[in-house]
Every structure is written in C-alpha cells, then in structure tokens.
C-alpha cells in the first residue's frame, strides 16, 4: 500500500467525522484526550465546534504499520462542497459513509457523482450506525444492492461494502461479533489490504508535461522512459526533436516523476508536452469530458459546447463550474496549441496562455 490517500464523503450527519475520529484516535494513539468526542477530533476550528458541523476540509497523515494514510475528511453540507471536490480530486479511494437508517440521501448521490466526474477512483461503502438498526442484516443487504446499482450507473468501481458503528468501533477498527456480519472485514482491514493502482508505466508512450524553463526545461514525467538521443515530438507545435539531457540521470519508478529535460534544437516552454512520435491530438479531434473549469467571459471556454454546469463556491470575479458532460472540439490549430493539454491518463487541462483554466476527465 505504501501511501494511500482517502477521501471521506457522504450526507450530513451520516457519521463521517466520527469515523475519521475513530481512525485518527487508533492511528495517532495518545494525541487526543480520551474524553474528547470522536466527531470533534477532526473538527478543529472554533466555529466547527460551536455549530457542531464540519465546515472545512480536514487533512491528516498517519502511519499504518510501514505504510502511510492521508485522510481527507470533507464536509457534508452542500455549501461547503469545495472541500469535498478538493478531497475527491486527489484521492486514491473514496470512503462513502451511508447512515443505515436514512440510506442514500442528496449529498450521498452528489458525492458519488462528483467522484465519477472528477476522479473515478474506487469507492468503499461504509454503512454506519448499524447499532441504531440493531444490526439488521436485511437492511444492510438492501443498501448494499442499492449502492451497487448506483455505482454501476455511474461507472464506478466498488472496492468493498462493509458496515459498523463508530460508537463501539465494531466493523470499523475490528470485525463485528454479530453472526451475520462476522465474515465481513472491518473498514481498517479493507484499507490495509487495498492496493492503489501504481503499475509501472515504463512501457507506456512517453508523456512529459513541461511546467517551465530555467537553465533547462522542468516538468513531470507521466509515463514512458525517456532516453538521451531518443527522437520525440513536441506538441502542441508538433515539431520533432531529440533529447540530449535528462535530469536526474537515474529515474525512480514511482510515477509521476519530476524531471528536467533539454532538447537538441528547440527550447521547451510551459504548456509543451514531449511525446513519443505521432501520438498526440490533432485539429478536428473531439472529446467528451467532465470536470471543473474556471469560466471567464473569453478564453478557452469558446471550445466548450453543450455545457451543463453547477456553479459552486468561487473566487471573486471567477466562478469555478462543475461540468457534468460536455463536448470539446478542437476547431483550429490555435485551440490545439493554446487551449488543451492531455496527459493521456484520461485527463486534460484547459489552458489560456500559461494559465490552467480547468481540469477535466475525458469520457469514453
């Protein structure tokens, strides 16, 4: 597992913060007073404790044996959606908490939907507050099949569906002792067994996203294994060149890899992508995508068609929008050169000059 980033989502008061509190108390033993309410362990702000609700994304990293877990505890209230978006965009796995009594509610659907739009990471469903329904197995299996149906509709993978209660930590930190639930792993067991997809990308096509240039260009190696003297193609301009220097000389095998690069003839600049020959996008190509963009009156948004969007909390004069699905068509060479950068991991970034205006997932 090495390092797992977990986003925790779900509807208001379904038990997200209590679950995170249990995990943190277990993993960071000794740091929290024994009489401190579990839900308050990650609700550290004064106003969160005053109003008894999570308002800002909480982040904590803890050791689990030789590995590390970063837990991103997102607020459930709709007005604080920015926190959940931040969490799910970066997560290796989403723990979706569903109250056994209330089942799937508005924010449960929205969080699943956002996961499908922004990340498509696996989802671990945790049916919480099982003590409140007296560990009713029938109810658990009802919710389980409901979860499976939604995940299927949204094209998401469910890694596990488990149940428990933060009150006794049964099903959460250790297995339940109830007959019909004893076979199910605890949430903690699921996390320990989970293997994020970190397959080697050495044999994939070469993709280096260039972030800037100082004495040489610097950027991120997303896939492939660049070699000195290798012939490459640089998009969006499309010219061919040869690699003359790679820094560091010995690259790690944990992607993405920060890298320095110099070419024989050209100087690379921010927004360029260094690729294997003949493997990038062309004028006339089109994509379906979902994701977030920062819309302004002009700029790359001209490319966006059939946009359906939900405004969310934004910066002054600039409103981030979540796009459910829209079509990008690369109408001209200018669009290809200035506006779209693909990383070939089904993610695209919308550019306006050197500014990133959006992060998108390409849809099949």
């Amino acid at each position: 597992m090495s390092w797992l980033k977990i986003a925790v989502g779900g509807h208001v008061d379904h038990g997200k913060s209590s679950l995170v509190g249990c995990l943190k108390r277990h993993l960071q033993r000794g740091l929290y007073a024994s009489d401190l309410d579990k839900a308050l362990i990650s609700d550290t702000l004064k106003e969160e404790r005053q109003f008894e609700k999570t308002m800002a994304l909480g982040r904590s990293t803890a050791r689990l044996g030789p590995d590390s877990l970063t837990i991103l505890d997102a607020p459930g209230h709709r007005e604080y959606l920015s926190g959940f978006i931040t969490a799910v965009s970066a997560a290796d796995i989403l723990i979706l908490v569903v109250d056994a009594r209330e089942g799937f509610k508005e924010q449960t659907y929205l969080h699943l939907r956002l996961c499908a739009l922004l990340n498509q990471c696996p989802v671990l469903i945790f049916i919480s507050k099982m003590d409140a329904i007296n560990w009713n197995a029938r109810r658990f299996y009802e919710l389980k099949s409901e979860a499976e149906e939604y995940a299927l509709q949204m094209g998401l993978t469910i890694s596990d569906i488990v149940s428990g209660t933060s009150l006794s930590e049964e099903g959460l930190l250790h297995r339940s002792r109830r007959d019909s639930f004893g076979q199910l792993p605890s949430l903690l067991e699921c996390l320990m067994a989970y293997q994020p997809n970190q397959e080697p990308r050495t044999d994939w096509p070469l993709r280096i996203l260039i972030q800037g240039n100082m004495t040489k260009a610097y950027g991120t190696l997303l896939s492939g294994k660049p070699r000195v003297h290798q012939k490459i193609q640089v998009f969006p301009k499309g010219y061919e060149d040869e690699i003359v220097e790679i820094t560091p000389e010995s690259l790690s095998e944990i992607w993405p890899i920060p890298i320095g690069i110099r070419l024989a003839k050209h100087s690379l600049k921010r927004g360029d992508r260094v690729c294997s020959l003949a493997s990038d996008i062309l004028v006339g190509d089109s994509f379906h995508a979902s994701g977030i963009t920062f819309l302004e009156p002009k700029g790359p948004t001209q490319m966006l068609q059939q946009t359906k969007s939900i405004p969310i909390l934004g910066l002054p004069d600039m409103v981030p929008l979540i796009h459910r699905q829209f079509r990008i068509r690369l109408q001209s060479q200018a669009c290809v050169e200035k506006n779209l950068r693909l990383d070939f991991l089904n993610r695209a970034y919308l550019f306006d000059g050197s500014r990133v205006m959006g992060a998108l997932r390409l849809l099949p």
Binding site: S2, W3, K5, Q28, R29, G30, L31, T44, L45, K46, M55, A56, L57, R59, S60, T61, R63, P66, D67, S68, T70, Y80, L81, S82, G83, I85, T86, S89, A90, L118, N119, Q211, G212, M214, T215, K216, Y218, G219, T220, S252, I254, P256, I257, P258, I292, F294, I312, L313, G314, L315, M318, P320, Y349, D352, S354, R355, V356, M357, G358, A359
Partner: protein, 285 residues
C-alpha cells in the same frame, strides 16, 4: 554518514511520492506566479523544503528566501541560518519589526500576551512583506511556507494553495476547490496565496527525509546537557525537553514514542486565547 542506515522500501516509496508532490507544487506555482517568496525559519521542515526547491530548479533557488527575526531567536539558530545561506548561496532577506522591538511591544519586555507578541513580531512583518515593493512589477503573489497538517488543529484545515485576502486574513471555510495539482488561474486584486508543499508530511517523515538526503540539521534539535528542542521558536516561548538524541538516527528512534505527543507542546503561544487558529486567521504562517 547518515546514509548507511537502510530505509524500508515502503518508506522510500512514500518519501519519493511526497517529494514529487512537493516539487510539482513548487514548480507549478512559481511558473505561474513568479512573484514568489519562501519563508525559512532554519528549522527542520523549512530546511527540507528549501532542499526540495533546489532539487526542483537544478540546484538554484530562484526566489527570495525570507527569515523573520524576532530578536529573541536562539543564537545557534541564527548561526545555522547564516552558515547555510552562505553554503547554499541564496538570497536571504531578514525581516524584523524594528518599531515593535524598539517600543518594547513584546511579551518579554512589557508583558503583552504571547499572541499579541507573535502578531507584532511575526505576523506583521509577513503582512508588510506581501504589500512591499520587493518585486518591482507588483506585490508578492505567493508565499511558500513549510507547515504540515499534523502540527496543530488549524493547520490540518489548510489547503496546498491557500487564499489570503487584502489584509492577509485566512478564512478556512471560504477556499476555492483544488483540482489535483492545479493551482487557481488568477489571484484576485490585493490577495495572495500561501503554498504549503509539505502539508501531507509528518514530523517522522521529515526526519526520515533528512536522513535519506543527508541534510544539515540545526544543532538545537540535538541533545545538549540532556535537553533538546523538538520545535524551534523564540527563546521566551519555546521549551526544550529531556532527550538523549544526539543525531538523526537517535531522533528517529525517539520518534516511536514522541509521535504520541504533540510536537508543539513546548510552544507557549499555542495554549493562549484561541491558540494558533486565532493567530493564523490574522495572517500568521
């Protein structure tokens, strides 16, 4: 000399990913917002971060490094600061709120609260720096800070890229969404960002990285007469604790027990009037 201790594969893998994440953010933010400065306290976290900046830019440090001097920092810390600045060859800007120091508007001179003192001697120079003409083309756009989310409650509520308003005030609830390594495309007029590349590191991971990279360590972290500092700050408000650790390996052994207690236990300002959250909302790092 420190590299002969083998790290586990899992730890190396975590450190590699965390370092890559930090370097990505540093490069991304600096490429988009060149009017960037970095705060350096000469402690273990910001020294590790400074090393990552050097790695990000092939040995160079392309932006000014700022140290806030309260006039009551331990002399060993200042000596370490000056030696490393010379050795690594970067531009160091030292900020002091001379007015507050000369008028004795401090905790140690006039019995102001620790919070007021921190505000005068640490927050105010930082707020002034952001508005200053350090860059001829306009005010500071980004301040890079080596804080970690595991240090203290309000820091666990931080983002990698965190927005500050015209008065450097922080509202943890009203922050724009972060999209997997992409920083916001513009900064509203008068606002600036704080970048926190070490947000997902822990105290133990920083020591493991220090050992892996063979980084210089401020001697205050090592035991002298049976006492050492775990978190460095001003002399009147920081307390050392009993320890026998005289090198990084021994600190890491000690961390197996210390990880169960707060790193900032010895820092006076954390226990006063709303603690660090109040200070940080007002512009503190």
């Amino acid at each position: 000399m420190l590299r002969n201790v083998q790290l586990s594969f899992a730890t190396m893998s975590i450190l590699t990913r965390l370092e890559a994440q930090a370097i990505h953010w540093i490069r991304e933010v600096y490429s988009q917002y060149p009017k960037t400065v970095m705060l350096w306290s000469a402690g273990k976290d910001s020294t590790a971060l400074l090393w990552m900046v050097k790695k990000a830019f092939f040995g160079e440090i392309p932006f000014p490094i700022v140290h806030i001097d309260t006039s009551v920092k331990p002399p060993e810390l200042l000596l370490f600061r000056d030696q490393l600045a010379k050795e690594w060859g970067f531009k160091l800007i030292v900020l002091r709120n001379e007015a507050a120091i000369s008028q004795k508007q401090t905790f140690f001179d006039r019995g102001l609260t620790r919070m007021q003192c921190c505000k005068n001697l640490k927050s105010q120079p930082l707020i002034d720096l952001v508005k200053s003409d350090i860059f001829p083309s306009g005010p500071v756009q980004v301040v890079i800070v080596g804080l970690r989310s595991d240090e203290e409650g309000s820091r666990s509520k931080e983002r990698f890229v965190s927005l500050r308003d015209k008065n450097s005030q922080w509202d943890p609830v009203l922050q724009p969404p972060e999209m997997d390594g992409v920083c916001p495309p513009a900064i509203p007029d008068g606002y600036h960002f704080r970048l926190h590349p070490l947000l997902e590191w822990t105290e133990t991971l920083i020591w493991e990285y220090t050992r892996q990279e063979g980084l210089p360590v401020n001697p205050l972290y090592f035991s002298k007469d049976g006492m050492r500092y775990r978190s460095l700050g001003c002399l009147p408000c920081s307390a050392p604790f009993p320890s026998r650790a005289t090198n990084v390996d021994e600190i890491l052994l000690e961390m197996r027990h210390l990880a169960e207690t707060s790193e900032r236990k010895g820092r006076g300002q954390d226990s006063e009037d709303g603690g660090l959250e109040t200070l940080r909302r007002g512009g503190y790092m």
